[in-house]
């Protein structure tokens, strides 16, 4: 009897084990399906066609948040700064020395429009020239010039513009400040910023400093006369489209040379991942060996895989998505001392890149890109985009809070749409045009049409 009981117990245990195995197998099946699909896509064996749209959507939604939040934070900070310190200032004509045409209310609208157009066209021509110079320098190996320029410009922005805004805010708050403490604080602030941005630093501190730079810059640019800003934004969006999507643009040459050299492009890029510099060197050597072996293997194997892996259609690692080569209209012709400083500043906030790369592609892909991007598998957005979004918002902040809210929503919507297309197409895409298009439309409709309606309806407590 006892033996029978034992046998029954053993049978029950076997059943339980089998059930567990089946469950485990089913779980692993689902996991394997996921992994295999992603693996096959990465290896170029399979089209990420409609079947894998959900994977793309999932990745896109995860990464969208990391990009949306800093953009939102910069815009809110800019609104704060302008609503407190800059709004009630009389227009001092900060850019009058630099601009070819100085706007004044006395001229007719057509004349102002023409003059503003001239200003904006000159600015963009200068931007073009400067990008070409940058590309030439980079291709001929003069990286050190660009790196030094970046350091210099970042330091100047953080110290001088930081001091300016600080003083404006203290003027608004009616507080006093002595020159000793100001000097100490601002120099430390500037030096810390340059170190974190151009060398090592904690991730959060790096991001905060990049946000601060874009806030300061947008606050300064917001003192431009009205017509020039709008025309400049429109022309910049068009310029961005043309430069990024053209097949023989300077940005693509930059990117290709960067890939060949394996060095990072000197420029200010906002990325949401951590930069482990010490580990990178070790991994670099190992992965170089891996890549060499893989290259040999791939040559012997069928060529179809390599062809498919190079096509833009598939999800690939570190496909750089350029959006903007940001410069400001301060890069204008004359021999002004200020201009020479500011000229350089913008150039180095160069190609704004949106990168999407997957963690799992670490294993199997060629690491031709810059070493810093080896572990950087997150979406990146160049600082030029931050600056011009916040410039638009600053123009809205001068008017009214309703325009601020609507332009805010418009810009974020445009950014999310561009990221969606980026996830679909896996190509270099400009981040500026869509958001600026939406932003400008929303701005003009709210400021001229919606605000009077709202004020009238609010008084009579009517809610639509």
């Amino acid at each position: 009897m006892s033996s029978q009981n034992e046998i029954e117990e053993k049978k029950k245990k076997k059943k339980k084990r089998n059930n567990k195995k089946q469950n485990h197998k089913q779980k692993n099946k689902t996991k394997d399906v996921e992994f295999n699909t992603r693996y096959e896509i990465q290896e170029g064996k399979r089209d990420p066609g409609k079947e894998d749209l959900d994977y793309i959507v999932a990745v896109y939604t995860k990464q969208l948040r990391k990009v949306l939040i800093p953009v939102a934070v910069t815009m809110l900070l800019v609104v704060l700064v302008i609503r407190t310190a800059y709004k009630d200032k009389p227009e001092e004509g900060a850019f009058n020395d630099i601009m070819v045409y100085n706007e004044s209310d006395e001229d007719s609208a057509g004349f102002r429009f023409g003059g503003a157009l001239l200003n904006a066209v000159i600015v963009i021509a200068v931007i073009l020239v400067v990008t070409l110079i940058m590309v030439c320098l980079y291709m001929k190996g003069f990286d050190w010039i660009l790196v030094g320029w970046v350091i210099f410009s970042v330091f100047i922005i953080l110290t001088f513009y930081g001091l300016l805004t600080w003083l404006e805010i203290f003027q608004y708050l009616n507080k006093s400040l002595d020159w000793i403490s100001a000097l100490i604080v601002i120099i430390n602030f500037g030096v810390a910023g340059t170190i974190t941005i151009t060398w090592k630093g904690a991730k959060i501190v790096n991001q905060i400093y990049l946000i601060i730079i874009s806030v300061l810059f947008a606050a300064i640019l917001s003192t431009l006369p009205e017509y020039t800003t709008w025309i400049l934004l429109v022309l910049l969006a068009i310029y961005d489209l043309v430069v990024v999507l053209s097949p023989k643009g300077p940005l693509k040459m930059l990117v290709e040379t960067a890939e060949k050299k394996g060095k990072p492009i000197p420029g200010l890029i906002y990325s949401s991942m951590v930069w482990f510099m010490s580990k990178l060197e070790k991994n670099k050597t190992k992965k170089k060996r891996k890549n060499e072996k893989k290259n040999e293997k791939k040559k012997t194997s069928s060529s179809s895989e390599s062809n498919t892996s190079e096509s833009d259609h598939f999800l690939q690692n570190n496909k750089i998505l350029n959006s903007n080569s940001s410069e400001s209209e301060e890069n204008l012709i004359k021999d002004n001392h200020e201009i020479d400083k500011e000229e350089s500043e913008e150039n180095e906030k160069t190609p704004t890149k949106i990168k999407i790369s997957k963690k799992k592609t670490k294993k199997k892909k060629k690491k031709d890109d810059n070493s810093s991007a080896l572990l950087d598998h997150s979406p990146k957005l160049g600082l030029g985009d931050f600056i011009f979004y916040s410039l638009l918002i600053s123009k809205a902040a001068y008017q009214d809070y309703t325009t601020v809210f609507t332009c805010f929503v418009a810009i974020l919507m445009g950014l999310s749409l561009t990221l969606f297309f980026l996830a679909l197409l896996q190509k270099a895409l400009p981040a500026l045009p869509l958001s600026i298009f939406f932003g400008i439309i929303f701005f003009f409709i709210t400021s001229n049409v919606l605000v009077p309606m709202n004020s009238l309806l609010f008084q009579d407590h009517v809610f639509l």
Binding site: Y55, K363, T402, V462
Partner: protein, 322 residues
């Protein structure tokens, strides 16, 4: 209006939306995008109505025509939003069914997210946009309720913010339940009745604010709001019951047919019907409001596996080199 009163007004008008946002929407990033697009589309609708207001000058002081026109535009845009959302959702669910992946979007939560977006856009534009211009030492008084105009308006804005959530969710769920393919039975007409009720309530609510008496406007507003909440709860319960019935019917169909690979077909069908379910949670079928965790957790596990394999490869290569 002092800053303390301003903060009070903000809290009055935003509190239900913020509660919904923090509870349901922050955890899933897809819902964030949906609410953002909801705010975007609401703003488009209000632009259309304001452009009409701007162009047609006799309306500028008679509010009834603007109310009717904006009502039409808002409902049309809500319907367009529903169409867009439906397309997205069906495509994503189909694909995740094919690949047996858990990347679905819960329908009820998605509709609530869209509604929260509409609500946020509404309150931002109609209420806080004007309120921020009035911060200062003075206050405006109405005879309507013997209280400050701004506080009264913030109460109205609170109601309308919640109402937008309810209108969108009722519209989405009722149309979906009416048009969904069923294994058995006809589409029920009660869903159309719900839809009609919600649409009419919008018009009623916005027109009731023109009435001069205080108690009438506030009472009617909040009574209709309460009624609509009950309607929404009823709708949600009905959808859950229908899903249950569909599941049971499918199970019966499966059992009647003789298939060896029952389990696999089962899992496919189950995943198709029940949002965000795995084979483990078959018991908790009625918990439709269980939303999935962020995808990062899944990916981290797989990343760990791959990183282990990475180390193995490196060791192998080192051995080869040596």
């Amino acid at each position: 209006m002092t800053i303390s009163r301003f903060l009070g007004c903000l809290l009055i008008s935003y509190s239900p939306l913020i509660a919904l946002f923090l509870k349901f929407i922050l955890k899933d990033s897809k819902l964030l995008i949906i609410s953002l697009s909801g705010a975007f589309f609401w703003m488009l609708s209000i632009f259309l109505s304001s452009i009409l207001w701007f162009v047609v000058s006799p309306w500028k002081k008679e509010h009834i025509w603007t109310i009717i026109v904006s009502f039409i535009f808002q409902e049309v845009v809500r319907f367009l939003c529903f169409k867009l959302w439906n397309k997205l959702e069906t495509s994503i669910n189909l694909l995740s069914r094919i690949n047996k992946q858990k990347r679905k979007i819960n329908y009820i939560l998605g509709s609530i997210a869209c509604g929260v977006g509409f609500g946020f856009g509404y309150v931002l534009v109609m209420h806080t946009g004007v309120l921020t211009n009035v911060i200062g030492p003075a206050d405006l008084y109405t005879t309507k309720c013997n209280m400050s105009l701004f506080v009264l308006n913030s109460f109205y804005a609170q109601a309308f913010g919640l109402l937008n959530v309810i209108w969108t969710s009722i519209m989405f769920l009722s149309i979906r339940n009416y048009t969904k393919k069923k294994l058995k039975g006809k589409p029920k007409r009660k869903y159309l009745v719900y839809l009609f009720v919600s649409i009419i309530s919008h018009l009623v609510e916005s027109l009731i604010l023109l009435v001069n008496s205080c108690t009438a406007s506030l009472l009617v507003l909040y009574l209709i709001l309460a009624g609509l909440i009950i309607l929404l709860v009823k709708l949600i319960v009905d959808t859950m019951n229908e899903k249950k019935n569909e599941y049971n019917l499918l199970k019966q169909n499966q059992e009647s047919s003789s298939n060896e690979d029952k389990n696999e077909n089962f899992s496919q069908e189950i995943n198709f019907l029940d949002d965000n379910k795995s084979e483990e949670n078959e018991k908790n079928k009625t918990d439709i409001l269980n939303f999935e965790d962020e995808d990062e957790d899944e990916d981290d596990d797989e990343d760990d596996e791959i990183e282990k394999n990475d180390d193995l490869d490196e060791e192998e290569e080192e051995e080869e080199v040596n």
